[in-house]
Amino acid sequence: MKVNGKIYSLAQPLSLKDFLEEKGFNSDRVAVELNGDIIPKGAYETTMLSDADTLEVVHFVGGG
């Protein structure tokens, strides 16, 4: 799987929600594009990742 341009191997099938947790992302502060499509927050739990996927995770920090 490609995550933000880097290759990442999935050890087992993983939901997007679990993947974000494993990588330490706060899911309230991210936007995620999977294979070119934005994934709505409500679908993080049911979206399963596979090695053929291309994932973009944008993480926001505070300040404006």
Partner: protein, 215 residues
């Protein structure tokens, strides 16, 4: 103080055309841009877009100007206590009295954002709170696939100005900032990096209006 003489629209247009050229002027005058949040980023973006001659701006913020905003936000002492929408509109009309402004003094949520920014082809995310940033970006990208978003993340502190960059992170999402310096790290928000990041956002908006989609 001497009274300002109001120039005609033709005089102002002519002055802008001399600076920017006719094709750029026409593209700017026809553009509709939204700004979500009118703090250190949004107030500065609005001033720059008005100077560029953007014809239509939608400005949204529920807040009032506070003394603590003056360290980086484009407001003056006379604006303290005023709604940010009104305080900013007052200044923008001093730059271009013929600009078309739509003001929303309400809290922007994932639910109302698509409605508030319906008329805008480009939207700037200019919030402070990281949850609100993510909520707006998700809502617009999901529900308005034809719109471009120019967001910000990582502008706190006094790290190198050269670390502030514009990246195209998704098809319709541009992200300005250093991507890591947040207020969560105990960093203060200060005028130079807030203005730098706002300028990155305004320049990306300018490029998008001119049909350039690379950062």
């Amino acid at each position: 103080m001497e009274k300002t003489i109001l120039p005609t629209k033709e005089m102002l247009d002519e002055a802008l055309i001399r600076r920017h050229t006719r094709p750029v002027f026409d593209a700017m005058a026809a553009a509709h841009v939204g700004i979500a949040g009118l703090g250190g980023l949004g107030s500065n973006i609005a001033v720059m877009l008005t100077r560029l001659g953007v014809g239509h701006l939608v400005l949204a913020d529920f807040d009032q100007v506070d003394l603590s905003n003056l360290n980086r936000q484009h407001y003056m002492l006379t604006h303290v206590g005023m709604d940010k929408t009104k305080a900013l509109a007052q200044q923008l009309y001093q730059i271009n009295p013929y600009i078309d402004l739509t003001l929303y003094k309400e809290k922007i949520t994932a639910q109302n954002a698509p409605h508030i920014f319906k008329s805008c082809e480009i939207i700037c995310e200019a919030f402070d709170d990281p949850d609100a940033k993510a909520a707006l970006v998700n809502s617009i990208l999901d529900q308005e696939p034809g719109k471009k978003l120019v967001a910000a993340s990582g502008l706190a502190g006094y790290g190198s100005a050269n670390d502030i960059k514009t990246h195209r992170v998704m098809k319709n999402l541009y992200l300005c900032g250093d991507n890591e310096s947040g207020i969560e790290d105990g960093l203060c928000l200060m005028a130079p990096r807030a203005a730098l990041c706002a300028a990155h956002q305004a320049n990306m908006v300018l490029r998008l209006i001119l049909g350039i989609d690379q950062p």
